[in-house]
Amino acid sequence: MGTPVPEPPILTARSLVKDFRGFRAVDGVDLDVAEGAVHALVGPNGAGKTTLFHLLTGFHRPSAGRIHVGGRDLTGKSPERVARHGVARSFQITSLFAQMTAREHLELALQAGTTLGWRFWRSDRALRRFADRSLELLEQVGLAAHADDPAGALAYGRKRALELALALALDPRVLLLDEPTAGMGAEDVDRTVELIQRVRAGRTVVMVEHNMNVVATLADRVTVLQAGRVLAEGGYAEVRRDPRVISAYLGDAHAAH
């Protein structure tokens, strides 16, 4: 994966800061994510990756700095506003609705783009209009056989797949994946990598990822965070040669290659 032809950034963060009662989790981060790129955020635990994700998706309000997506200022906007602006996210810790089936999850996600959700006088059979698209998405992530299983009863890898399908259902311009392969076995990791490669077409993907093989395979660009700051940025090959990165974080993974 070489550095792609420079595109105008679709997502930019400028001097982003997040303080938690005296602890600065994100400390002046600048980020430019090129349109159509897969951009990985890596760094040791506590580097501020997940906090940065929460800032980019509206779950945290930044203490300072600005966030723009597609030229629009989304700083401090609520999560639902950010989502409606075409930024969908998955969660690091699987975050589903335990009692709903896989199909119902996708119906709910597809409904989010319509006004149907307000119609308290209609039968919930109206959601069947999303049935075909739901099944398509379930097939895409390999869950078609489990459409009617409650999410709580799915195996871990399948929950992660459903998590991804939920974000995809929003058909986002920017897809933020928080550790999409966390806790997966090698086989599930391969399947997920393949899936992300398929769905990245026409989208921008920002992912937090610990698995360096996944980063090497997928990422066009890598930002290394440490202690809330950007330590290095560039293509994977470039970043892994950076001595600061090697000493701070990538040392082990580098040696393992």
């Binding site: 779950f59 609705f97 709910l108 409904q111 989010a112 307000w118 039968s123 409650p150």
Partner: protein
């Protein structure tokens, strides 16, 4: 569409209707009407408690507020009682807009406390504004006019009021089984995820709150017409507590369970009061504790789960799509799965 859906399970439906129809033959008719009103009130509260995940502790404001408005319309405008009751319900829904706007962004105990505080404000106003509400005397002599039909006999009035209760219960059921109801369950089980999907969670809670208040108002207005008066009791905080107790007794998230709780509490209160027993709260409180300990999911919730489990054992029910695994786990309690802070929309 509603009818066909309800008709899919005819036995519980017909049993419920039959009980509703013969109730004033079985028990003292005014008590029967009280049970019907409280059953609707409990269903309205369950809409929030069971299906939105909010514990309202100030719904007396809507039940009692509507009781006063209904009484005032019937007394001063001389309109038929259905108009007065619908007016009261509309007033309750309207009152719920500012209260819900200010409280629906809160969670758990904070939501309960703020709704209680607003209800106390309504109580204070009802107590102080004597010229309008009659203060401690309440509104007396509320007429039961229906185009000149004599409804003074509580037995007949029960049948005049029952359609409103049934319509209210049907409305509550429709809300729960609507696209909106789906979103509410998502908001209840995982608000952060619902937000990440683009749902404005605070506004969904607000609409649920307003609908619940409107149905509570329908019940409270009918209650006032049935008794012929509206008193401070209706807006007092114990009313808010009692309806929550009924929902818990019947089973949170069952919608119909509240009717069991209502029947139990109202009938017990009536029985003990008639017997001249003074410490009613002691008895209802003890029964409440016992039932909550024995039936973890409320009376109706426990019975329903047992019946479902039995039905699942007896005949493997045909799944919606043949060939797909059908291992529905009925009524598994949901664990709050949000690891992410939710932020209210501004």
């Amino acid at each position: 569409m509603i009818i066909s859906r309800l008709a899919a399970r005819p036995i519980p439906l017909l049993t419920g209707l039959l009980i509703a129809l013969i109730l004033p033959w079985m028990i003292y008719p005014p008590v029967a009407l009280d049970i019907a009103c409280w059953a609707l009130f409990a269903a309205a509260v369950d809409l929030l408690l069971g299906f939105t995940g909010l514990l309202p502790f100030g719904h007396a404001a809507f039940w009692g507020g509507s009781a006063y408005v209904t009484g005032l319309i019937a007394l001063h405008a001389g309109l038929p009682f259905p108009v007065a009751v619908l007016g009261g319900a509309a007033a309750a829904a309207l009152l719920a807009v500012p209260i819900g706007y200010l409280s629906a962004r809160l969670r758990g105990i904070y939501f309960a406390m703020v709704t209680l505080a607003f209800a106390q404000v309504v109580y204070f106003v009802a107590n102080q504004w004597r010229g309008l509400t009659g203060g401690e005397n309440g509104l007396q002599g509320i007429p039961r006019d229906l185009f000149g039909i004599d409804l003074s006999d509580p037995f007949f009035f029960y049948y005049a009021g029952l359609p409103f209760v049934l319509a209210g219960l049907l409305a509550a059921w429709r809300v729960v089984r609507s696209p909106f109801g789906r979103v509410l369950v998502a908001v209840r089980d995982n608000p952060a995820r619902a937000q990440a999907l683009g749902y404005p969670v605070a506004r969904y809670k607000l609409l649920a709150f307003v609908l619940s208040a409107g149905l509570s108002g329908l019940a409270g207005g009918l209650f006032a017409i049935g008794h012929g008066f509206a008193s401070l009791d209706e807006v007092y905080w114990t009313t808010s507590g009692q309806v929550v107790m009924m929902v818990v007794l019947g089973g949170i998230g069952t919608l119909w369970g509240g009717a069991f709780g209502a029947a139990l509490i109202v009938e017990l209160n009536d029985y003990l009061a008639t017997a001249g027993f003074q410490e009613i709260g002691l008895v209802t409180g003890t029964i409440f504790v016992i039932i909550v300990l024995v039936f973890r999911r409320g009376v109706w919730g426990t019975v329903r789960d047992a019946l479902r489990a039995r039905a699942a054992r007896a005949v493997p029910a045909p799944g919606p799509d043949p060939g797909t695994p059908h291992d529905e786990t009925p009524g598994t309690p949901t664990a709050p799965a949000d690891e992410v802070p939710t932020r209210p929309a501004r």
